[in-house]
Point group: C2
Chain length 671, copies 2
């Protein structure tokens, strides 16, 4: 463990990486070609761009009338959509910018520029930009951060601007974002309004803005927002007491108005309880991950970003404590987080119901963001491991195999009535998935800040050409992952360079074989957690080749017995993939399946090239309870239960709900 | 199965039976001496009697001001308590009357008479009696049956009156009840108001009233209320639309006003859905048990009571269908019913969560009431079996071993934060338990309506002297139940009488030995459901003795695999008792316990006379997962899970939460 916070690694620019992967490339292509285009159509259809056009045209509050769900009366009408709808455009801009960073795409570039121009036109002279308040309640700006998401939208604008600047070098969107950030900097802080965003996001965005601009005051402002949270009294408490004053709080989500929802989420027995938005205690004092999971992830990501820039032992200790709590007590085996629907968030230690799991796709994405910063801060394997686990399971289940249907909620068990949708009214998840897939390059490699280390963290076929210290490093990674454990890394740069290559040995690996230029450098069981990276220090030159083979045995997993919902059940994992059983592969209902002896359960992997574009399934021997024996009684002696041998076929969890409707479970009962 | 509805058996008057049972007598004594006295004190403390006194004194609406929770401003103040508080007095009168039926109790008799006099004074000249409306909103009588519980209270008044009349022969309370019933009969019906009670109860009460008065119009009115339910449009729908007009709808329960609760319970996507109160379809068309479980039980009890009096093949078919649905798809192994807290009711087939089970004590009691009528109607064992299962488990857990603490909610698993309470603001459960315990005699014996059959349904030590046809039958039952399976029945009547003795062979019995006067009449395994009653036809005379021995092996139970919450788990039953494991008996947390091989799990019964007044515990070999192995990870390979052998000690489910706080589970995981 590091002695304290320090950035020890950094991502390489995504434009330095080119994907070429059997598993991921088709998904990323669909994301570019289908999802991002579809997302733009949504911006037109749901009124998001129309709002900006109204503002740009100078429509005033007098011409408009409220922000109700379904209020879509054309460009001459009122504000359309929820109060955070601006963020849809920003997320699209961010995803599109990543595409521009790695390809030509002239049509997309033109469309992006049009939207940027629109935003610039809509922005007020003082930098303010939030179409709801501009159109409907200009006098109410910054009066209700608890509900109204102004700072949240600002954060997404900044993220988009940074992505666009890095992708194109053009400062058009960055200027808009900076002007808004400067406005916010004037509005809030020790000498201004004492405010805390109800939904975190601005913190991580301001650190990004600092990095491209070098302006310390953005970092100061991020630090201000981190430290202002969790103070007593909280400014959010007063805002909630007066929430009815904001007409926008009438927006309906999950069957309740934003005002009702806020009261439900922030009040306990009539008293303010900020835990929904991590505002119950200063982060330094927090012991457990609490509240709305996406908010929590964005917040911790912001704090960890800050720690990459500024030393703060107390904050770092808190962040480690929260990570421990989440990963050892409040996380699904898929990496999914958030046990409960109503507040979309964390509940109690070990409370991880499978059928009513929330495990929002956005929360998985947020966890990847957070763990990405944690890796950069520490260069430790655990964080890259969790990115892998979440990427292939908790996140990837959120996207259909076809790449154009999305889960908001990711249960680990269902009777068959839960299906992906094309879009959502509160459309946080599809654009979030789009920006993650469009920047997948970011997670594969990293450079040591010493300029002497190159990390290979994720096994995704790709080429990289990047600067490392004084050298230019280029290599091509080809891999059979996630289906098989073979990976080949071949260097292609012109000038030899001396550095340490560190290749992650995933947590699930039990045996590693590695050669350099055909010579064995490692052939070993992996007995301990210290075998985290395969390290080779040498002068690397074109043609040098590292061949890796990771064992991928099928693992039968048990859960901590305090996770009552998994008691008496096992899950199956192979390599990075958590598996599940689905009705589509069985002649009996999956809820009747059981494993007789977990210690002897040893299903065989079998790659089926025709299944869902090529999928390795696991086939093992189990039993099925004959439902005919259960017609007259719910309960009976175990010696009067008829079980017949049957084959259990497991598919990767991410692949479920891509065929006919049916039941699914990750945790298979034992008998 | 009977060809159709007909009463084939009837209970004997409770005054014909005298309890003398090691297991039950102490509980019934505590009920008489502690609970019923305590219940009366509550009537004084919570304003229930004060409300009646105010009405009797002629206090008007002008002197009073609303019915908010906690509104307790003395007898000169407003109405106190929830709008159904009158029913507390009626349930107390009913329980007290059962006590008067079987004992002298002059002090109690005097107190009962005082309350009856008070009710008579409070009753209006036209028979109306409901203190909330009389004190607060007299102009709003009968305008909101959906929420306001007038007919519910009337039903409890009638039940109390019938019990008091049968116990004492005095007609004072019966006159009050008849006058109110006559008022209701004038108000409602084909020629009057088209009304349906939001909470059923009046139906079963009117059948009782018919039986003591012989007045057919009470039966007609019961039938009217049964058939009026589930019609489209429902009168309840209009009442809900106008619920704010009733000030009493401001009463707060479960953190919401009655009006809010009613909208939550009765509206789905803004449309009226009556299933909460079984008002979604005519009962004849209902396929599944739906909605609030206590309402459902009271309704089905009323309908079944009606079927005892009037033939109706369609209703009878529906009732059987609902019973099948409940017992084979929606019932806990304890006999508890109601899976969900928010609406205190049924959800979907096989949805039976253990930790969030509602399984309200009142619903178990209602199920006993319903099954009691079903037995009388059919003389079939299944219903008496379910009474036994519910009595010893789902009901009895609701009462502390000390007899004076109560559960409202009966989970089958808890981490240790659920405990019995002395009383509840909405105090339905303790008085309901009190009236059941005070009339336990009712469930033990029954007479065939042919006058030639005597049923012994429950094994509870007692003497009975009753009329059977032309004969007087007297016998004494002594039994070792529930701990052991030995029961002795000795006849004591003077004149010999020829009749059939039918002794229930409980569902859990696998082997029966029976002798009459020492001669073996049965010694057999019980292989099939047709072995439902041990039948002996002869002339019985004083000194005749039937000795029974039922095997009581420990049964390891599995649940239907569609009950996902029990998958991979087993429960343990011995005789009528379902068992559970509790922290108090283990040196490791009970959530770490598991059974290795359910087929080989064979715990030994051991009677501990010092444990909770004498309890047979079960001791078996299991394993415990070492929590020290789970500090760094929530999930791990089963072959890396350390389990150590440990003794599993199970206690009867009814006995849990009578010692130190701790976790409990009925369903033990397998490994």
């Amino acid at each position: 463990m590091p002695a304290g916070p320090r950035a020890t690694a950094e991502s390489v620019p995504i434009s330095d990486v080119e994907l070429d992967d059997d598993f991921w490339t088709p998904r990323v292509e669909t994301n570019r070609e289908v999802t991002i285009a579809h997302q733009y159509d949504q911006l037109e259809a749901n009124g998001c761009l129309a709002n900006f056009r109204r503002v740009a045209r100078g429509a005033t509050a007098d011409e408009t009338s409220g922000g109700q769900e379904g209020d879509s009366s054309g460009e001459d009408g009122a504000f359309e959509g929820p109060m955070f709808i601006d963020s849809d455009a920003y997320k699209w801009l961010e995803a599109a910018s990543y595409v521009l960073a790695t390809g030509e795409e002239p049509d997309l570039r033109e469309r992006v520029n049009e939207v940027i121009e629109l935003l610039a036109d809509a922005q007020e002279d003082d930098g303010y930009l939030h179409t709801y308040f501009q159109l409907v309640e200009p006098e109410m700006k910054w009066t209700n951060l608890a509900v109204m998401h102004e700072l949240y939208c600002a954060g997404h604008l900044i993220e988009a601007a940074v992505a666009h600047y890095r992708a194109t070098g053009s400062e058009g969107l960055l200027d808009v974002a900076r002007a808004f950030a400067d406005h916010i900097d004037r509005q809030f802080g020790p000498d201004g309004q004492n405010g805390v965003p109800g939904h975190e996001e601005i913190e991580l965005a301001l650190v990004k803005l600092y990095r491209v601009t070098g302006e310390e005051r953005y970092l100061d402002l991020a630090e201000y927002f981190v430290d202002a949270r969790g103070q007593d009294p909280s400014p959010l408490a007063d805002e909630l007491a007066n929430v009815e004053e904001i007409a926008g709080a009438d927006f309906v989500h999950h069957g309740q108005t934003a005002a009702e929802g806020a009261r439900n989420h922030f009040l306990r027995d009539g008293e303010y309880d900020g835990s929904y938005a991590q505002d119950h205690l200063p982060l330094r004092e927090q012991e457990t991950v609490e509240g709305h999971a996406v908010r929590a992830m964005y917040f911790y990501t912001g704090v960890t970003s800050l720690l990459q820039e500024r030393d703060d032992e107390e904050l770092w200790t808190a962040i480690q404590r929260l990570w421990e709590n989440m990963t050892t007590k409040r996380m699904y085996v898929t990496g999914g987080i958030g046990s409960e629907h109503e507040h979309e968030g964390f509940t109690e230690d070990y409370d991880l119901p499978n059928d009513t799991a929330y495990a929002e796709t956005c929360a998985a994405i947020g966890s990847i963001f957070w763990n990405h910063r944690l890796f950069e801060l520490t260069a430790e394997r655990d964080y890259a491991d969790l990115i892998e686990r979440t990427l292939y399971n908790g996140f990837l289940a959120g996207v259909s195999v076809s790449g154009d249907r999305f889960f908001y909620v990711n249960p680990l068990e269902t009777t068959g009535d839960h299906h992906r949708k094309e879009w959502f009214y509160v459309a946080c998840c599809p654009p979030n998935a789009a920006r993650l897939l469009a920047s997948l390059e970011r997670y594969i490699y990293a450079r040591g800040t010493d300029g002497e280390t190159l990390y290979v963290n994720q096994f995704v076929g790709s080429s990289i050409e990047t600067e490392l210290g004084e050298d230019t490093v280029a290599l091509t990674q080809s891999t059979a992952m996630p289906w098989e454990g073979e990976t080949n890394i071949k260097f292609t740069h012109d000038d030899p360079g001396a550095f340490e290559l560190r290749v992650r040995i995933p947590e699930w690996v039990t045996n590693v074989e590695a050669t350099v230029n055909g010579e064995t450098i490692a052939e070993t069981n992996v007995p301990s957690a210290s075998d985290d990276y395969l390290s080779v220090e040498r002068t690397w030159e074109a043609g040098d080749e590292v061949a890796l083979s990771f064992s991928q045995p099928v693992e039968v997993l048990a859960a901590d017995p305090r996770v009552r919902d998994d008691a008496g059940r096992v899950a199956v994992r192979r390599g990075p993939l958590v598996y599940c059983v689905e009705d589509a592969d069985h002649s009996v209902p999956v809820e009747t399946l059981a494993v007789s002896d977990p210690d002897d359960f040893d299903p065989d992997p079998e790659h089926d090239p025709d299944l869902l574009g090529g999928t390795t399934v696991l086939r093992g021997e189990g039993t099925a309870s004959d439902l005919d024996t259960w017609t007259d009684s719910l309960y009976r002696s175990v010696d009067r239960v008829n079980r017949t041998e049957t084959e259990i076929v497991a598919i990767p969890y991410f692949a479920w709900d891509n065929r006919e409707d049916g039941a699914m479970t990750v945790w298979i009962p034992t008998t």
